[in-house]
Symmetry: C2
Subunit: 164 residues, 2 copies
């Protein structure tokens, strides 16, 4: 695959808020987001995957660190389950950006390999047509950015928190 990567970025302002036991039935994601919208929280990434054996699933959002507790309160109240919400206030978002990533295989292989060699654990993965994003702990964020800059032979950039 002809790698079309044009940049690597680090956003050190992210927090992850996860509802740990959302029933995997129609309507729950709608309920949660109505509550988040009413609380006026800006959401960056939304990630949900397969449900567990119990029939529940985990629904995560990433938000600016300053909004994390407000988002957690609004989201958990929406599913009547205040006990099972995980707030991870100190996360870093690392992104590899490139136009025309027809498939993510090549970029992901190099990105995940670079973070592995740097001994950095990947806490979340989310992809789009122009990016592969991962979350790591905040501590290793800058080391991760440097590792990605070397792996893709690119200058590195600290992103302003926001879209993507």
């Amino acid at each position: 695959e002809d790698l079309v990567v044009s940049g690597v970025e680090l956003d050190e302002e992210q927090a992850r808020v996860t509802l740990l036991n959302v029933p995997d039935r129609p309507g729950y994601a709608g309920k949660v987001f109505r509550a988040i919208a009413q609380a006026g929280v800006n959401v960056d990434m939304i990630v949900q995957n397969v449900r567990s054996a119990s029939g529940d699933t985990r629904l995560s959002i990433t938000v600016p660190r300053a909004d994390a507790l407000r988002a957690a309160e609004a989201a958990s109240a929406a599913v009547d389950d205040p006990g099972h919400v995980l707030v991870e206030p100190n996360m870093a978002k690392l992104s590899v950006v490139g136009i025309g990533m027809r498939t993510h295989t090549g970029v992901a292989t190099r990105m995940f390999g670079a973070l592995a060699e740097a001994g950095i654990n990947i806490a979340l993965i989310n992809t789009s047509e122009v990016r592969v994003n991962v979350l790591t702990d905040l501590g290793p964020g800058k080391a991760g950015l440097a590792a990605l800059g070397r792996a893709f032979d690119l200058p590195t950039r600290l992103a302003a928190s926001g879209s993507g």
Copy 2:
């Protein structure tokens, strides 16, 4: 939020392959993707979220239906755990597309609400700077597309399988 949505799409060619017990330690995502790249599988979405109490996490990819079994074999062999791979061959990907989604809250609220009213279960959520993507079962895909077309007052489009 001024909704900047320009389109809704349905891709009926998707399958989801999930490794159910990937150790959440540095290096495993790199191993899995090296194997997937060697098998020559085109990956569309990659989703991983928080780990479970046991310390494992679930790592999912979405691939063209024809590649699902090959991807499952390559990925599970990479983590020496052939038993715990879930292949869901018949999924539909529904997308709401719009430039400049600074935050996903407004679009997500309307999208998830429309699917809830149509009684359609959301099996995966992934967002990008220009899209909110969900996976549903293949069966309700077209009904989902129609519901989203109404919710965003837009013509609907069947997407060719590929990036995004």
